[in-house]
C-alpha cells in the first residue's frame, strides 16, 4: 500500500485531544483521519431504547416517582430530624387519644400516629429504606445467580443443562412461605435472612429465561465466528452471549423488584422480616390490623406507599420492555 494511514502524526490516532486531531488533518487533508477524539459515535441500542423510553409518559412518571422515593429514603434520617420525630419516638403527650387510640393527621403529625403514638410519616419514610434495600439487593442477587446458572445451562447444554434445569424446576416448585417460615425459625428473623429468602426464590425464574435465550443465541453465526477465532467458552459466554441477554434481563429485573418488595412486605407482615420496632411497610400494615376501623390513616399510608411503589416499578418495567423490544409497534408513536 502506498500511503501510511497516519502521516506525520505518530501519536495521532490514539490521541483524543482536539488539537492533535486538528494538526493531523492539516498535514494530510485529503485522507479521513482515524482520530480517536472525532470518531463517529454510533447510537447504541441502549441510546435508542432510552430515546424511546423518554416518550413513554407513564414510565417516565414512574421513574421520577422511584427516584424521588429513593431520594426520600436516603435522606430519611435528615427528614426525621427536620420533622422532629425519630421512627421509634413515641409522642407521650399528644401521640394517642385519651382512649389510647392513634391520632389522625394534624399539623403535629402530618400523617397521624400509630397505636404506640409514633409518627406514621417518619415510619413510612424509614420503611421505604427497607423496602427498596431488600427489593433491589435481593433482585440483584437473584439476577446474578439466575444469569450465571442460565448462561452455563444454556451454553453448555446436554448433561449440565439437564441437571441445572431440574434444579431450577425444584426451586420453582418450593412452597416459598413454608420454607421462609422454616428458615426464619431456624436462623431468627433479620434483614439478611429476608434478602436471602427472596433471592433464593427468585433466581430460578431468571435462570429459565436466560437459559432459553442462551440456547438460541448459542446457534448464531457470530458465536461460531468467535469460536473460529479461538475464543474460549468463558469469553464467548460473557463477551458474546451476555450483551445479547441484557435486554430481557433488564426488563425482568425491573419487574422482579416490585415482586421482591411485596415479598418482603409479606414476610414483615407475618413477623418474619425485619425485627420490630424498626419500621417496614409490612409490619406497619400488620400492626394496623386491629385499628383500621378507628384509624383509617394507619393502614392507608404504608399501604399506599407499597401500592404506588410496586405500581411504579411495574409501569417502568413495561416501558422498558416496550423500549427494548425491537418488534414493538412504533409506527404510531413517533
Amino acid at each position: 500500500m502506498s500511503a501510511d494511514p497516519t502521516p506525520g502524526s505518530a501519536p495521532g490516532p490514539a490521541d483524543s485531544t482536539p488539537d492533535a486531531a486538528g494538526v493531523a488533518v492539516a498535514v494530510a487533508p485529503a485522507r479521513p483521519q482515524p482520530s480517536g477524539g472525532h470518531a463517529i459515535e454510533g447510537r447504541s441500542p441502549w441510546q435508542l431504547a432510552w430515546i424511546h423510553l423518554r416518550k413513554d409518559r407513564a414510565a417516565m412518571i414512574s421513574l421520577a416517582f422511584i427516584l424521588l422515593l429513593a431520594l426520600l429514603s436516603v435522606s430519611a434520617p435528615l427528614l426525621a430530624h427536620w420533622i422532629g420525630w425519630s421512627p421509634t419516638d413515641q409522642d407521650r403527650t399528644q401521640g394517642l387519644t385519651v382512649d389510647g387510640l392513634p391520632v389522625g393527621p394534624s399539623g403535629r403529625h402530618l400523617l397521624g400516629t400509630d397505636n404506640l403514638g409514633r409518627d406514621i410519616l417518619v415510619r413510612v419514610l424509614y420503611g421505604s429504606q427497607v423496602s427498596l434495600l431488600v427489593g433491589v439487593v435481593s433482585t440483584l442477587l437473584a439476577v446474578a445467580m439466575g444469569v450465571l446458572v442460565g448462561l452455563v445451562a444454556g451454553y453448555f447444554g446436554s448433561a449440565v443443562d439437564t441437571v441445572l434445569s431440574r434444579v431450577m424446576d425444584l426451586v420453582l416448585s418450593f412452597p416459598f412461605l413454608l420454607f421462609a417460615i422454616a428458615l426464619v425459625s431456624i436462623f431468627g428473623s433479620s434483614l439478611a435472612i429476608s434478602v436471602f429468602v427472596i433471592a433464593f426464590f427468585s433466581w430460578a425464574a431468571v435462570g429459565r429465561i436466560v437459559r432459553g435465550q442462551t440456547l438460541s443465541i448459542r446457534e448464531k453465526e457470530y458465536i461460531e465466528a468467535a469460536r473460529s477465532l479461538g475464543a474460549g467458552d468463558l469469553r464467548i459466554m460473557f463477551v458474546d452471549v451476555l450483551p445479547n441477554l441484557l435486554a430481557p434481563v433488564i426488563v425482568y429485573t425491573t419487574l422482579l423488584i416490585p415482586i421482591a418488595i411485596v415479598f418482603e412486605a409479606t414476610l414483615s407482615f407475618l413477623g418474619l422480616g425485619v425485627v420490630p420496632p424498626a419500621p417496614t411497610w409490612g409490619n406497619m400494615l400488620s400492626d394496623s390490623l386491629d385499628f383500621y376501623q378507628v384509624a383509617w390513616w394507619f393502614p392507608l399510608f404504608p399501604g399506599l406507599a407499597l401500592l404506588l411503589t410496586t405500581l411504579a416499578f411495574n409501569l417502568l418495567g413495561d416501558g422498558v420492555r416496550d423500549a427494548l423490544d425491537p418488534r414493538a409497534e412504533r409506527l404510531f408513536q413517533d
Partner: protein, 363 residues
Amino acid sequence: MSEPLMTEPPTTEPPTAEPLVEVREAVKYFPIRQGIVFKREVGRVHAVEGVSLTVRRGETLGLVGETGCGKSTLARCITKLHPLTSGTLLFEGRDITGLSRSQVRPFRRRMQMIFQDPYGSLNPRRRVGSIIGDPFAIHGEGARDERKPRVQELMELVGLNPEHYNRFPAEFSGGQRQRIGVARALALKPSLIVADEPVSALDVSIQAQILNLLEDLQREFGLTYVFISHDLSVVRHVSDRIAVMYLGQVVELAASEELHGRPRHPYTNALLSAASVADPDQAAARQRIVLAGDVPSPIAPPTGCRFHPRCPKAQEICVQQTPPLLAAAGDPDAHLTACHFPVEPGEDLTRVTATIPEEERAE
C-alpha cells in the same frame, strides 16, 4: 500499510505446489438423537463422506455444489469448528486432526473464516471496532490502546471508513458488513482463509466489490482461499481449481478452465448447463440438462455412486460400486472425476437414458 500487517514480505509469485491444507478421507456424520432425558441415536446425517483434497499455498480452491451437499460442513471441519468423525487433516504439514481446543488455538491464527451471512456473523450488540479487534483480544496481541490504530488500519485496508470504529453493525449495509467480516479474518495475518459463501447474501453489484477486494488481498498478502459457493460463475471467476461436491463427496476436481471446458462428471455437466449465461442468445440456444428428482436424503444416501438415481448415464455398476476419484482416460493428471462413465466432449446428455432398474431411479 503492508509493513505493519505482514511480517514476511508479500508473496507475488504464482501459486507454488506446496500443500497448505491436506484433507484425507474426511468423514463427518451428525448423529440424530431422539428421546427427552435419555437420548439414543436413531440415525446419522452423512454430511461429508470420504473427501480427500489438497489446498496449495497461494491458490484459490473453489468448492461448489447444491445446498446440503456438505461443502459448508467440510469448511467447518477444515477450520476445526467441527471435529472429523474419521480421516486426517493436515495444516502446514502438521496433523491437527486430534488436537484439543486449546492445542488448536495457535493454528487458529493461521486459518480464518469468512461467513455467509453478513447479518448473522457480527454480534449486533458490539461495536465494529471491538468486533474487528476481537482476534487481537483473544490472542492477547497488543494492549487495549494499541489495538485501536491497528483495527482502524484494517478498516481502511478493506475499504471502510476508520472513523466508523464506534458504530454498531446495524448501521452498515450488507456489503460493508461483509467487509467487516473480511477485516476480522485478516487481523491475525492468516495464511488460509475459508470463505463460506461470502457473497451469496449480497446484491450482485456488491458481490463484485467483495470479490475484487478478496482478490486484491490475496495478491497483497499471499493468502490461500477455500472459496465455497453454489454460484458457478462466481467460483469460476475467483478459483484456480474447483472441486464439485455432491452429497458429501467430491465428484470432480479440476483446474477452473479445464472444468468449465471439459466437464466429465454428469453432475458437473448438469450444474454447468444450469448456470446463468449473460448472453441471451447463448442462453436460448443451449440445452439444459434437467435432472430427475431431488437430492436424496443424506441420512440414507444411495449405494454405489451417490448420483446414480438422478444420473442420465447410470448403469448397473453405478448402483453397486462407488467410483473412485481418478483422472479419466484422456484427461490431464490434475483433472479427477469420480464416475464410471465420464461424459465425452460433445456428448449430449439430454438424449441418453439410464439403464438401471426403475426402483433405483429418482422420481
